[in-house]
């Protein structure tokens, strides 16, 4: 243990001597410095034995960086100039404060862009807001998203999305015992949903209705008859069970044909839409009338099956 102390003492003194060689200070200082180094070495030793962090000053003989606020008033002016000349005034056991120019962290602290922009902004209300309050506002917004403080409608939407966005699992799930045809239609429906051309949950329905449309007349008629029969049976079941109410009529009757939804009343113009007393012409309408000078006129005429 005393060897370590000797070692540390020697290192400390060597460093002090080396540092002093920068200045032309008269000789009697070595005595005073000896006194100064002994107590500080003791301090080092006790700190090591306490195993407590006694401050940056008292770490072992490496170069000290920033200080504690233990300066004497008399040393203030010298410390401003970034070095300390150990005069005889500090021969008492005052901790020596060293400001070495190289040890201060040269890399700038991460400039908080938001804080800088808030401070330099011309709006006074922004330049006074704390960076903490700015950060806490952001955090608050994030927290509220994570918390489950949502309305029922939002929960329903999430549920709907979750049920339908288990990618392709409707067809891949083995529990359902799907036949090959069913699996194919489910997969195609999911692909349509993912591509965005179908709304969530409607993909498979669109595939099946397309197939119905492509079927022959007899098949089509048979399918619609069966559908009507099933709906009537459902309606009767609901009435028997007590689930029916005249307000729910729309739910139980067949949905009207999509094609006959909205027929435009009145006579049409040759081009464009007439709305609100205005005739709205799109660019295509104008080009249809004027006839744009675009290339490939011959190929356009040659195209077949434009509108059946």
């Amino acid at each position: 243990m005393s060897d370590d102390r000797e070692e540390l003492l020697k290192i400390l003194e060597a460093q002090g001597q080396q540092f002093l060689q920068n200045f032309s200070i008269p000789h009697p200082l070595s005595k005073g410095k000896g006194k100064a180094s002994a107590p500080s070495a003791e301090v080092v030793d006790t700190d090591n034995s306490d195993q407590e962090w006694g401050g940056v000053d008292h770490s072992s003989a490496s170069e000290d960086s920033s200080s504690e606020g233990e300066d004497d008033g008399s040393d203030f002016e010298q410390e401003d100039d970034d070095f300390v000349a150990i005069s005889s005034g500090t021969s008492t056991a005052a901790p020596v404060v060293v400001f070495a120019p190289g040890t201060q962290s040269k890399d700038k602290p991460q400039v908080d862009r938001a804080a800088m922009r808030a401070f330099m902004s011309s709006k006074i209300s922004k330049s006074r807001s704390d960076p903490e309050s700015l950060a806490s506002n952001k955090r608050k917004a994030g927290d509220s998203d994570e918390e489950a403080e949502r309305t029922n409608i939002q929960n329903d939407a999430t549920l709907h999305k979750l049920v339908h966005t288990k990618l392709l699992s409707g067809s891949l799930n083995a529990d359902l015992n799907m036949t090959g045809a069913e699996r194919r239609k489910a997969l195609e429906g999911r692909v349509m949903e993912l591509a965005g051309s179908a709304k969530l949950g409607k993909g498979e329905h669109i595939v099946r209705t397309d197939e119905h449309r492509r079927a022959s007349k007899r098949v089509r008629e048979g399918l619609t008859d069966k559908k009507r029969e099933r709906q009537q049976k459902d309606l009767e079941e609901a009435k028997n069970l007590g689930n029916y109410h005249p307000a729910l009529k729309k739910l139980f009757e067949a949905s009207s044909g999509g094609s006959s939804r909205k027929r435009e009343a009145g006579m049409k113009m040759g081009v464009g839409k007439f709305k609100n007393g205005q005739l709205n012409l799109t660019r295509e309408d104008i080009q249809k009338v004027i006839g744009s000078p675009s290339p490939g006129g011959k190929s356009r005429r040659g195209g077949r099956g434009g509108r059946r």
Binding site: S66, S67, G69, D80, D82, F99, Q104, P109, V111, D112, A115, M116, F119, M120, S122, K123, I124, S125, S127, R128
Partner: protein, 365 residues
């Protein structure tokens, strides 16, 4: 207490702006004579005449009569109009000279003020544009004026050629709030702006390094920003400056500033600013010396209630300002030592009974 309606008479060119502002706010006619009578160039200076022109623009119905020799003026104030204004300031004083009194008038205008000032933005005599934006205008927030308050520095201009432009926007309020600011708190952060125009941009970095070398030991939260303006927006003359401000836990602000001088290195300018900030902090209080007049003025114009503020010792300007307030508004301040137990503490508690000034000019849209 009803304010009397007679003419107020002053002599001398000192405290010129404060007296004119008090006249406009109180509505009393003011006569200032014996302006620089003994001087080689007697009478009003060009910046004072320019300031009178600015007051004419800001107000409506003000009559200003200047004597033949320029050594006496009579001001009959009108109402504070506000609106969109542009003013070119002469190169003898910076825009801070002109903007500081307008800041006191603007919240009581008829319409929100939108004032563009052109001239020198940074000067050693007056508050620079940075100080106005970061320290002076936040003091208005203490009184309830904050929404829509802006100071945009469009261009910077150093002395002597100027070329700077700032735009000041101020909302209109009905009445200012009563101030009760007695706790200075402890300093929690220090901010600074170092800018350099038409010189090596490294100067601002050098100033920041030098200033940090002193300030780093006190608190960790120190950010000094380097404001860079280039080309057309950097004015016509070279110069650089460092502005420092310290904010406390109770939002008290202290500031200091140092402008470049010929033959002095940037590090010395930075040290000058830093030491000025530290001595300002040593004085303590909730308001620093440069803004004592503004805060005291707003306290007088507050609602009819006791307003209190803790500040350091008043400067010469503040003392004369308190006398002028007594003259115009017949209100006096009660000033007691802030801490009677501690004899070392030089801070004082200023309290006054507000006059209940209501902005009757504003358009009720």
């Amino acid at each position: 207490m009803a304010t009397p309606t007679t003419l107020v008479h002053f002599s001398g060119h000192e405290h010129f702006r404060n007296r004119l502002v008090l006249s406009i706010l109180s509505g009393r006619h003011v006569k200032i004579d014996k302006i620089r009578t003994e001087d080689k160039n007697p009478g009003l200076r060009d910046f004072e005449v320019s300031f009178l022109r600015l007051l004419e623009k800001v107000t409506n119905g003000t009559v200003i009569e200047i004597s033949v020799t320029g050594t006496a003026i009579l001001l009959k104030p009108g109402i504070i109009a506000g609106g969109y204004l542009v003013h070119d300031c002469p190169h003898s004083r910076s825009i801070g000279y002109f903007l500081e009194p307008v800041i006191v008038l603007a919240p009581f205008a008829k319409k929100p003020l939108n004032l563009t000032l052109r001239g020198i933005t940074t000067d050693e005599h007056d508050l620079s544009a940075d100080l106005l934006r970061t320290v002076t205008l936040p003091h208005l927030q203490l009184f309830g004026i904050s929404d829509g308050l802006e100071l945009r520095i469009k261009k910077r201009g150093a002395a002597p050629n100027g070329g700077g432009e700032v735009q000041f926007l101020c909302p209109v309020v009905k009445q200012v709030k009563t101030l009760n600011f007695v706790d200075p708190g402890k300093i929690k952060r220090i901010r600074g702006i170092a800018h350099a125009v038409r010189v090596n941009p490294q100067f601002s970095n050098r100033m920041i390094e030098a200033s940090r070398s002193i300030l780093n030991r006190y608190i960790p939260d120190i950010y000094l920003y380097s404001d860079v303006y280039k080309g057309e927006e950097s004015g016509k003359s070279p110069g650089y400056a460092l502005t420092l401000l310290a904010e406390s836990t109770t939002t008290a602000l202290h500031c200091s500033e140092a402008i470049s001088e010929p033959g002095v290195v940037p590090e010395d300018i930075a040290l000058k600013a830093t030491r000025a900030l530290l001595s300002e902090l040593d004085r303590g209080g909730c308001v620093d010396r440069k803004h004592q007049c503004l805060v005291l003025m707003m306290m007088v114009l507050g609602s009819e209630d006791v307003g209190r503020c803790r500040m350091g010792e008043p400067t010469v300007k503040t003392v004369q300002f308190l006398r002028d307030i007594k003259e115009f508004f017949a209100t006096s301040f009660k000033i007691v030592p802030a801490e009677t137990a501690d004899l070392e503490c030089k801070q004082l508690l200023y309290s006054c009974y507000g006059t209940g000034y209501v902005n009757a000019n504003r358009t009720l849209a």
